[in-house]
Symmetry: C2
Subunit: 420 residues, 2 copies
């Protein structure tokens, strides 16, 4: 008798779909196979795909509050409007925004996300309450000020101390970028991360401007700079990586660092199209992120898989669709050192049950259907850490309608003039 048995679904096991039953005990998958198992809770997955949980490898969850706030503007004006608004976000706002993000992610099959932002206690609280898994870090920037560097590090470490040991939470050190953090500060972060075994997450090579600035200031690319101060190892996740040179990719591959690819955001902010095919060729672990909702505007990895695949096609790089499914699931778990993202005995029970819909038909090969013709709204149930957190499209641990009403009241000044 298992705690949960998922029965008769088409399960993604090592890139193939097989009709299997899955048994869960505690927070782990303890059985995958053909036997007719039973659970205290039995989930009928007939007519459904069963997928490993999706991992959103780069986001700023509370930026849901800024979704759709500043559209149709060029980057500079867009940023000004966003920053002005962001400066006003307090703890309660970030809490509500993160919670809105958590529900959107769960409803589209994301079981874990990596977040760097401000007011991290609020985000941790949202994670705790919604039942999702997360990897959290305070977004640090010293801007060359030694005193500020110390203070930023203190905030980051205090946050980790306060929440460490909590269920479904891991922690990262998350300096913003090489153009907002000094090399000395980044080196210090790398030192502490190594000492304590913490994973590091940083924006890198997002825009051509960033690469040019690095060359001007340091005579090196952002990746070469990070490498020169010992920042790169297999506990490093680089967000974006749009403008990587051949040499940059070789360094990343050699050091075993991961890249969190964010295709929609890179289009929206005119950053560019990442060389995913080349990164994979070089053996880099590429995972997939949505970035914040202000630059996406969704938090949905089905959309990201499809856009990423379409963009690589545009570049005449025709990858096997299975690559994108791995990027969205197991590669994210791998990047952040969490034992999930695969349907396999012993892995964390982070699982997604998704209806096979008319848009997947005809079903020549389920992997193709899922990557190129899913919206994410086909997700029916989600299990995180061995616990059902979304059932029949409804979150279990809180009221969505109430949350939306709270967000509306919070933003009432800017909000659309009529309640919907």
């Amino acid at each position: 008798m298992f705690e949960i048995a998922i029965k008769n679904g088409l399960c993604l096991v090592k890139d193939r779909f097989l009709r299997f039953n899955i048994g869960i005990e505690g927070n782990k998958i303890t059985y995958v196979g053909k036997e007719d198992i039973r659970g205290e809770e039995n989930i009928n997955a007939t007519g459904c795909f069963v997928l490993p949980g999706f991992f959103n490898a780069h986001t700023h969850s509370a930026m849901t509050l800024l979704r759709g706030y500043a559209e149709g503007l060029p980057l500079k004006e867009w940023l000004e409007k966003i920053w002005e608004k962001e400066a006003k976000l307090d703890e309660r706002a970030v809490y509500l925004g993160a919670k809105l993000a958590c529900v959107e992610m769960l409803k589209s099959g994301i079981t874990c996300f990596a977040d760097m932002y401000i007011h991290m206690d609020s985000i941790a609280k949202a994670v705790e309450e919604t039942g999702i898994r997360a990897v959290l870090g305070y977004g640090m920037a010293d801007r060359g000020d030694e005193k500020r560097a110390k203070e930023e590090m203190r905030i980051a470490m205090d946050f980790i101390k306060n929440w460490s040991g909590k269920k479904r939470m891991e922690f990262i050190l998350a300096p913003h970028a090489i153009y907002t953090c000094s090399p000395e500060f980044l080196a210090e972060i790398a030192r502490i991360a190594k000492e304590k075994g913490i994973i590091k997450h940083i924006h890198a090579s997002e825009t051509l401007w960033e690469v040019r600035e690095a060359k001007k200031r340091y005579g090196m690319s952002p990746i070469e700079l990070l490498n020169s101060i010992g920042f790169l190892d297999n506990k490093t996740v680089l967000a974006h990586g749009v403008w990587l040179s051949e040499r940059d990719m070789e360094i990343i591959s050699e050091k075993g660092a991961s890249v969190a690819h964010c295709p929609s955001s890179n289009l929206k902010l005119s950053s560019g199209i990442a060389k995913v095919a080349e990164m994979l060729e070089k053996g880099i672990n590429v995972c997939l992120g949505t970035d914040g909702a202000a630059s996406n505007n969704l938090l949905n990895l089905f959309t990201e898989m499809r856009i990423s695949a379409l963009l690589q096609n545009l570049r005449r790089k025709f990858l096997n669709p299975a690559e994108f499914l791995r990027m969205a699931t197991s590669n994210g778990y791998l990047a952040y050192g969490i034992n999930g993202g695969m349907i396999e005995k012993g892995k964390l029970a982070d699982l997604v049950i998704m209806e096979v819909s008319h848009i997947h038909q005809p079903l020549y090969e389920p992997v193709n259907s899922i990557v190129f013709s899913s919206l994410g709204s086909e997700v029916r149930d989600v299990i995180v850490d061995g616990r059902v957190v979304l059932e029949d499209r409804e979150p279990i641990y809180f009221e969505l309608e109430e949350l939306i009403e709270e967000v509306r009241l919070l933003l009432s000044f800017d909000y659309y003039y009529e309640k919907v």
Copy 2:
């Protein structure tokens, strides 16, 4: 008393969202305003957007049968696999494929589509049965053979004769492209179209290869060639238009022709990114299409709006999101000379009722939310020609499950080995 009253929705009226009631009599909108109207049938649209119907301005509907069939392949190998399969499609196959397309389109708010393909009687039958509106034309190609040109024209005209006068159907002359049709044949089509007042639809400037071939063979761009033989006027819809020169755009604008922009397909087949911003600047009527499901793989204009907007951003062309909503609705109706695509008294009652979802929140400006953060699965009810054809996400006039089972049996040889 109206036949149908749609009440209390946020209605898109001239690019703005207002809380209005809408009255329908026969196949027309006969009231838009604040009065508390009543209908024989009353639809409560509280918590919903009410949008004009979406117009899929370029597709090959029955290609749903080839969705996901040949992924991860470069163009040439992709085409070989697709053509081999397409050659085997018979009338029944096209009928089932078109029907699968109709349901997908209705479920994502498409009320009308323009189709060029083979076995057009089967497609017309699917349109008749599902309740959608369509503009249909047999896809003609003479390949420089005069006899074949005559035969192609006969098939096209017979199809129009057989179905003309049927509800919710208009007809077009649809030569495939300048590289599959001779200039003489295209000129003859233009002559007949003018004489009979029929709209023409052709693939044009889809790939760089096509433009180079035209220059080599004719010393002109595809658009210049079409112009030189009198093919371009305000009853012409050009599919794709990815590789238009400044001069091409000026010609199209001057002649009043429309362009059916298909962003996902242009990515998938490595064709390129269309210059939407420049076309709009020049006053060209740009509408939006999905192309066939084999090169998309969805038939969903919400996806196309979002991708189109993201791609223009990548090009640093920051358009007002309202432009994309017009492209997906009124511009399509305008291109094909059908009196719909707007919520206005006297227009055809082709309407979409769509839930305001958590992914649209917070609602700073509904247009932004709809363009950048809709999936299409939020569509609840669809009215075509004054008749409810989708209610609470279910098609009214046929059984979706039965249809999918028929498709599965049809394709059983290639189909995924287990019934889902």
